[in-house]
Amino acid sequence: MILRIVNFVVIGALILAAAYVYRIKYEATVQAERLAKLRDEVRHERDKIAALRAQWGELDDPARIEALEKRFLKLKPVAATQFDSLDHLPDQPPDYLRPGSRDPIGGMIEHLEEPATVTGSIPPPAATAAPAVPPSANTDGTSPPPPPATIAPPAVVSPARAGHSP
């Protein structure tokens, strides 16, 4: 009797094991197929990318771009005189706008009028007026216009040595 139960248990276990193995095997096959498919897709994509890169290389070829430029645009090569360094930029003009001001244009006019009233005989307003001046403007109230662009002198000039004969 016990032997018979054991037999049935073993048969049941066998069937279960077989079913399990079958499932694993089936899943593995599905995964392997998916893998192969993905690999194939990756390869296809890579090939496509390579073809597109090659095409981009052809489109981006300087000779082609230059030919197109000559046909359709009127560009000229950049001359050395067209370059300049940031040091040669004029200083930023003083900021007439007060932050948080409700009437920015009025503030500007007010600010612009101020220096006109300062002459040799009319002294600039007392220090009490000073806080009204925006922080970026000069505190003495004269507030000159932005300085003109000054060209920096050449880096090394030593005229004393110019007399040397080559």
């Binding site: 300087p62 000779a63 050395a80 090394v156 040595r161």
Partner: protein, 583 residues
């Protein structure tokens, strides 16, 4: 129960005929039930054996099928091997692989050769019918029918459904820039093996071994980054093509070298070829003149002579040499092209490009010193770079005084132009000889490779002379304002049938920019430029190579990130003065 009970009484009742049969078949006294049981057992064993075999085979198929599938993919892929992409220094593509279908046949599987030939020639009209028939009738397992067909053709042939005909995707090398960088990267053959230029270098550096092992099938190989800048290369080539046309020159070549790292930023040798069309590459007139050709460089060699003289300490800028009359050397006479008929100082020798002065200077130092110096500068040995093509310099057989005098102004010694550029770069960059390279290289790497050959002060003096030559010497036409170019011209009479030709010349121009803080060295070389109305009948370098050099500089300097500086003082104030201050 009746069945058991019957036989006992029924034994005699069995008909005699049946009894006879039984005794004949089984013998007397045989128990038939035992026999039957044995037979059933045998049948069971048989079935177990058969099903066992089937089960075993199933297991085997299960295992083998997995290991076989990827194997086939490799076979499909390994036909034309993948190569890494080649990029320029900014990552622009110079060479890449694309997949193209190729047509093959398996003659053993072809049923009707005539039909196959007919259908294939209909789709691919450029196939030769008799050759195709021959190939398909052969006994071989695999024959190529046509490499590199279009996808449309592939589709058409696929639709015909000819048995024994198939397609393989192959890697094909594609050079999107056409002839732009031809001599530099070289090309590959139909099996994607490098046969020239950097492509060959790739093969010699491990790729061929990878191909042999069948491992180079993947696209994911690291791209190779070259030192060349495609935009600079194009600008240089564009100007050289125009110059070659303008001066009706046999050839035009140009090179741009970063003097601080030894990187070759551009290399053009016109006429060149389109690497997508390999047939052009075999034409001997399309060789790479900068590495494969050797030339007498002419007056640019005076840079070596003056550097040697100044570096030795025996000659200073204020020394002077007699150039009043042509120099007699045995039966030869050395002339000046722009004869001044007076005593010339060292800077004047350079700016008037005086052969007599240079020859006297070399003679003062002696031929041994000259030979040792040129050897140190790498001018007497074959220069090897990544490019497989290189040429041995042609040395004079006997280094006599006459040789010393002529080599001083660049005649009698033929070197590869790249070699001369390397030497001049060493004179310019502060005195370090750095082997040129086509691969990207950092400054630290270059310094580790570099070898000091002259004193830094000599280099500074030489840069002063180069700049002076542009300000008031033979290279005035190359002065692009803002870039502070220094340069030396050279015009060499060509040797035709063992004699110096009077009319055929090779002109070259070497320019350093900027002369005060050297970064790039430019070489322009024209082979047999003809005189044109604009050059007033002259064929010397100052009329052809120099203006071309100026044009190239104004185009490439913004690309190379050289900041223009206007209103710089002349060389004797800027370079010479700073040199004296540092002393």
């Amino acid at each position: 129960m009746s069945a058991v009970a019957d036989p006992l009484p029924g034994v005699p009742t069995e008909p005699w005929l049946r009894r006879l049969k039984r005794s004949l078949l089984y013998g007397r006294n045989v128990d038939r039930s035992a026999k039957a049981r044995a037979r059933v057992g045998l049948a069971i064993a048989g079935f177990i054996a058969v099903y066992g075999v089937i089960a075993l085979r199933l297991v085997m198929f299960g295992i083998v099928a997995d290991s076989r599938a990827p194997h086939r993919v490799i076979v499909d892929d390994a036909v034309a091997t993948a190569r890494p992409d080649i990029l320029d220094r900014n990552g622009e593509i110079l060479a890449t692989d694309v997949r193209v279908p190729s047509l093959y046949g398996e003659p053993r599987h072809i049923i009707d050769v005539d039909e196959a030939v007919e259908l294939l020639t209909a789709d691919l009209p450029d196939l030769d019918a008799t050759e195709l028939r021959e190939r398909l009738s052969s006994k071989r397992g695999f024959v190529w029918l046509k490499r590199d067909i279009t996808p449309a053709q592939q589709k058409e042939i696929y639709r015909q459904g000819i048995p024994g005909i198939g397609f393989l995707n192959e890697n094909k090398r594609d050079y999107p820039n056409g002839p732009e960088v031809s001599h530099l990267i070289g090309l590959v053959n139909i099996d994607n093996q490098g046969i020239a230029g950097m492509e060959k270098w790739l093969d010699n550096h491990g790729l061929a071994a990878l191909h042999m092992a069948g491992l180079a099938t993947d696209r994911s190989q690291q791209p190779v980054v070259l030192s060349v800048d495609l935009r600079v290369q194009h600008a240089l080539r564009d100007e050289l093509v125009a110059a070659r046309e303008q001066f009706h020159a046999l050839a035009a070549a140009g090179l741009i070298l970063n003097v601080n790292t030894g990187e070759i930023v551009a290399l053009v040798s016109e006429p060149d070829y389109d690497p997508n069309d390999p047939r052009q590459a075999n034409d001997p007139s399309r060789i790479n003149r900068l590495t494969t050709g050797v030339y007498e460089m002419g007056s640019t060699f005076k840079a070596f002579t003056l550097a040697m003289a100044l570096d030795s300490g025996k000659v200073t800028l204020n020394s002077s040499f007699d150039a009043r009359a042509p120099l007699h050397m045995g039966r030869f006479l050395i002339h000046d092209f722009e004869a001044q008929h007076r005593v010339l100082t060292v800077p004047e020798i350079f700016t008037y490009s005086s052969n007599i002065g240079a020859a006297r200077m070399a003679l003062l130092l002696g031929s041994d010193a000259q030979r040792a110096f040129l050897k140190k500068m790498g001018q007497l040995d074959r220069l090897r770079t990544e490019l497989p093509e290189s040429a041995e310099p042609i040395l004079p057989r006997r280094w006599s005084d006459l040789t010393t005098a002529t080599v001083a102004f660049g005649h009698g010694l033929s070197v590869a132009p790249l070699q001369a550029v390397m030497g001049v770069a060493a004179i310019m960059n502060g005195g370090t000889l750095i082997p040129p390279t086509f691969l990207k290289r950092s400054r630290a790497e270059a310094e580790a490779l570099g070898k000091r050959v002259i004193k830094p002060e000599t280099s500074e003096l030489m840069r002063y002379l180069m700049r002076l030559n542009v300000e008031k010497g033979t290279a005035r036409k190359a002065d692009v304002p803002g870039y502070y170019i220094g340069g030396k011209t050279g015009t060499a009479d060509k040797v035709i049938n063992g004699r110096y030709s009077k009319s055929k010349v090779l002109t070259d121009f070497m320019a350093i920019m900027p002369a005060d803080h050297p970064r790039y060295l430019l070489l322009i070389m024209l082979d047999e430029p003809k005189a044109t109305p604009e050059t007033h009948g002259f064929t010397t370098s100052g009329w052809n190579a120099v203006p071309v050099g100026g044009k190239v500089v104004s185009r490439i300097a913004p690309l190379l990130g050289i900041e223009p500086r206007m209103d710089l003082p002349p060389a004797d104030q800027l370079i010479l003065a700073s040199l004296k201050e540092s002393r």
